[in-house]
Amino acid sequence: MAPLIAARGISKQFAGVEVLSDVDLELKAGEIHALLGENGAGKSTFAKILAGVYRPTRGTIALNGHIADIASPIVAQKLGITLIHQEPISFPDLSVAENLVLGRTAGAPLARVPWAEMAREANHYMHLLGVRIDVTRPMRGLSIADQQMVEIARALASDSRLIIMDEPTAPLTPKEVETLFGIARRLRAEGRTIIFISHRLEEVRQICDRVTIFRDGNKIATEDIGNLSDADIIRLMIGRPLKEYLHKSGHAHIGELALKVEGLTLPGVFRDISFEVRKGEIVGLGGLVGAGRTDVARAIFGIAPAESGTIEVNGQEVSITDPSQAIGLGLAFVPEDRAVAGIFRTLSTEQNITAAVPWQIAPGGLIRGALERAMAQDSVRRLRIRLASLRQPIGELSGGNQQKSILARWLLTDPTVLILDEPTRGIDIGVKAEFYDMIGELAAAGRAILLISSELPELIALCDRVLVMSEGRITADIPRAEATQEKIMSAAVPQAREVAA
């Protein structure tokens, strides 16, 4: 019998960057199939191609042996393929129930909207998932977790034969994860197929039958889960054993206090955040998406200041209500979302690099082209930024090089405290390794570093201490020696905290 899905030689390029090359993959009916791989390995891209979000640059996809052209999400929907996006997508002004049924292909444009049935159905699935939300309320303001749950409910309701879940569990609590898995098993029993993308091996082991491992856009292996040890999987994922590529930058000597935060609180977002970072120290800040880490960073940097609590920089208590003040005090912040908070897409790379140090390039107000060029050039050389010309719009650079340019921008300010929010998100493995080296060097050069990351290996390997946030509170402060994935996860997840207490 032909497999449900047979992908052949799937390749995908973005602006000349190949992010997937010749991926072959077969999915059986009634299996739960894991996709594993480092960030940026190409998992989501592959998923999106199956779901008709992207067209592959090359390659074919066969459904039950027939070549299918999945030209758009609508087509995918009609073919019975549903994707739960990694970042839940929602229509904030529409009700939860509407978000749940929106995009159903059935019905003419002028068909009546069955509000009552809609609500009933939505309630049914919400109950199934054990979530208590008023389905008539607008989506706006739901927590990321709840938004994710609505996404899942939507997938279930669409009754597709292939459901792709892209890191669905990232923001969920273990209890929610359990419910989800229960449902997943039942779907499998019904003969449906599920693609399950996750960074958490233990989850994969719990419910998956087979795993496919991606690395740098290539499919490395497809195996029954039973045949692989965690070590094997990690080796396959990153090419070489973990410890080698995450070398610990132990030798940086830890100096005096650089940043001290005391009882920082922003009602409804985070509360009573206290910690300190010393010169030469790398302090990790872990937790689930939506835990409030970014908001803490934003508060310290004066973008969305906290309402109470104190901040000390180099022993001086300071009040920071605007990033320009933070910069003056020697703080720097590489934001989590490059496209939104980082780059000026259409402007030249050199402009992007020098954006934070205007007065250095324009002594006396008039911009000195040569001066700017020289500074940008120097950064490009030091950070090994790959570009064709400094005049190139930064939007034309690859993600990794964009990220390097943003880092370069901040290094030009010669900061004493460097806050990095998910600095390696969506960056390919080679550049990633470079970043780890750089972070180490920066610490060694005596800068204090606060590293926000959702990637446990990263935190464990790089940080001298790992703080963990959950629901807007710091729930753990783990010294390097004791830092393990388990410890961090259990602190990151709300329930676990109650258990511990």
Partner: protein, 331 residues
């Protein structure tokens, strides 16, 4: 460009750069210039009386007030905001000025107060847009109605005269060019330098391209935007008072519909309505284009109807071209 040599280790992930000549020539301003030249040709074909530099200069004075404001408006639009109220602002500050001097206030004081009122109107816009974070397009549609209305309350629909000696800026000639045109050219040069070569200008582009990123980079976008709204306000007031001097009298409907003219100038010059792109040069050229086209048609006694059609078509064509050009440089 040996400075760039080390960087030209072009990786698989870096797209090749666009050749220099493209960077220089494929820009909206080029298109505006071409249209301008075509306009001159068309004009001289349409009417034998058209091609007379003095006539064109004289005609430009009729649009010079709008053109001057359009230069500042360009910066506002590049910064990602828009202001539709300047024309109404011109009317109100001109009325305030005229009313004050008609009621015995010495002209210089009246002028100053007129400018101050313009500044105040800019401040009101800034308050709603920046402090209350309301969309500038709607806010300024509101204030445009309000300012025009206040002007109407002050002046009724009679016109307020200004003294003889104050009349006729447009008759003052510098090297054979009417003063308003000279002012326009000077302002264009100044703002061109500010926008192109100073930190302030640089940051205007950055705010317009990505306000969030700009704030993260320590750029005080709110301050800059407030500054721009104030600048438009005071310049509009200046333009209004200049109009009063040209016409010799002030009515509440002074500069009626000017906001569209101003936006038109900016757009024809290749300024991108959503911010981040555009140049003073473009608006400068577009102002001339607009004058050439309208006066060319008027002197040829072309129906005003046709003029409306041509202007509308021009705007759409130019925005399409601009978009194509930008999407090309976008990739």
């Amino acid at each position: 460009m040996n400075a760039e040599s080390p960087a030209v280790a072009t990786g698989h992930d870096a797209a090749p750069p666009r050749p220099r000549w493209q960077v220089l020539l494929i820009r909206p301003e080029t298109m505006t210039l071409i249209l301008l030249i075509l306009g001159v040709f068309a004009g001289s074909l349409l009417s034998p009386f058209f091609l007379d530099i003095n006539y064109i200069l004289r005609s430009f004075t009729l649009y010079s007030e709008f053109a001057i404001v359009a230069l500042v408006l360009t910066m506002v639009i590049i910064a990602g905001e828009i202001d539709l109220s300047p024309a109404a602002n011109m009317a109100l500050s001109a009325c305030i000025f005229a009313w004050l001097q008609a009621n015995g206030m010495p002209i210089p004081v009246a002028v100053v107060l007129g400018l101050v009122s313009g500044l105040a109107m800019g401040a009101v816009n800034a308050f709603f847009v920046i402090a209350l974070q309301l969309p500038s397009i709607i806010v300024t549609i509101g204030t445009l109605t309000l300012y025009r209305g206040l002007a109407q309350i002050i002046a009724g629909d009679k016109s307020i005269r200004v003294p003889e000696w104050f009349i006729g800026v447009d008759k003052i000639m510098l090297v054979g060019i009417p003063l308003p045109v000279v002012l326009f050219i000077i302002l264009a040069i100044v703002l061109g330098v500010v926008l192109g070569n100073t930190i302030f200008g640089r940051q205007i582009y950055q705010i317009g391209t990505n306000d969030v990123a700009a704030r993260h980079a320590g750029i005080r976008s709110a301050r800059i935007k407030v500054g721009l709204f104030l600048l438009v306000g005071v310049v509009a007031a200046f333009a209004g008072i200049m109009t009063a001097s040209r016409l010799g009298s002030v009515r509440y409907d002074l500069g009626l519909g000017g906001e569209l003219q101003m936006v038109l100038m900016a757009m024809l010059g290749g300024t991108y309505i959503f911010g981040g792109r555009g140049t003073i040069l473009g608006t400068f050229l577009a102002a001339w284009l607009l004058v050439i086209v309208s006066t060319g048609m008027i002197v040829a006694n072309v129906l005003p109807a046709v003029q409306l059609v041509v202007l509308g078509a021009l705007l759409i064509v130019s925005i399409i071209a601009t978009n194509l050009i930008y999407s090309r440089t976008q990739r």
